[in-house]
Amino acid sequence: MHKNRLSKVMTMAEAIDRFVADGATVALGTSLEPLIPFAAGHELIRQRRQDLELVGPISDSLFDELIGAGCVRRITAAWVGNVSEGLGHCYRRAAEQGIPRSIEIHDHTNFSISMALWAAAWNVPFLPARTLLGSDILRTNPNVREVDGLVHISAVRPDVTILHVQRCDAQGRAHAWGPLGISEEAGLAAERVIISCEELVDPAVTLSDPNRILLPETKVVAVVHEPGGAHPSPVQGFWKRDHALDNAYAAESRTREGYEAWLKRWVLDVPDRKTYMTMVEVDSILITGNRPSEPVNFADE
């Protein structure tokens, strides 16, 4: 039945090469703390992407890493730092001293960045919301403004949204579970979507539960089978959060030299995610239990 559909499976290197251009607006880390597509972020760094606009709510240290690597022109996000420590050291250096380059910052809140993406999803120039009133973010972000006691939040339309999910088939039907943050609106708003997944599964699995399919396959241009692709962030049913590694990043990135050493060790000298995962102490973070969802019956007769 699906024989006419071309597979969208490719390597992360190919997906980033083909679908993320210099200057692109890229949404990442849209589930907040879990399911952050770190593997994709590292590949963006390895391919030396320039002038990106990063869009997201809170994506632990991923945005900080990309800023440190000099890939970023603009941040359109609610929060950039690392969850272990708070402050993002690369973010600080860029914003305070222009190291390695200066960046433009469009501050959002979690709610407002969600509304900005829903606006793009529904193809309207703005959505009104009850947040941001009384906040100085109204003074510094040119894309939010107070009108008649509401705040109009301008649409943010990613060129590409990159999502890490638990399982996906070759045609791009992605199943994600656990809290979803702003992943749905980030995917719908985007021109195109890249999926990385823990498991590449048969369409019989994904189509057994069309309610769990996160996005229309028509948005998905690439499917990357990338186990551990969200490390050190957690993946329900697969990986706990690697607190130790996140703490180490927070500590090492305090100095520019420390960050550069970290970058060399964990990104630049690592050819791909498979190699990266051999460097991770997986025993302590692997989820081995089973806590299955109760099936539902989609029968029609």
Partner: protein, 253 residues
Amino acid sequence: MSDAYTSQELMIAVAAREIRDRELVFVGMRLPIVAYAVARNTHAPNARGLFEVGLMRDHAASSYLGTMGDPPNVAGALWATRMSNVMALMAQGGVDLGFIGGAEVDRYGNLNTSYVGPPERPRVKLPGSGGGADIAILSRRWVTLMTHERRRLVERVSFITSPGHGDGSPDWRRRHGLLGGGPAAIITTLCVFRFPSGGGEAYVDTVHPGSTLAEVREMTGWDVSVGADVGETPPPTAAELREIRQRSTVGSQ
């Protein structure tokens, strides 16, 4: 169990007491996660926790959380959903209490988590709002926890990320269209500040055991007001301490 407790443990216990039974609490990260667990397992068995990542719970996670999206916080959740649905509940006034962290707070309870110094070239770039401004504007009341230092409790924050009572003038929030009631308390390492109903300036309500008003004055960046009936903050109870210590504390960073 020792009767001694850390100031962090006291802050968690005080935060937990802000949670009333049956309330819906926007929990946030670090200390408030433990505070929710303490409240839920002591005086507020029917309090529910709401997490902006897209979760609702009616009991604390069974193990340590580095983030609100860690797997133990998802297992057994009452709802795993999109952030915009969680925000919908809060925009409707459905969230009774929120917790917000901050780098700086001023006498009117405004929080700065964005920029120290001019935004175009800040002296310190802080991480930003996250959901802080949303909670500050939309939850029915909120509380912040902070290390009590002069550089943190300042006369006027250099950037209002999360609005408290604005310039402190009567009804500032209502006049500016903010739906929620604003800050109810600032819990520090030395004392608890509260606010008059209707807004205005923070006043010292209780001072923690072992601290003094003089010390609070010394360590606060504004000329501190003191409540009519300033007392001592009740120390953590044995039950509270037990709950706190059952969980790895998360605020070590």
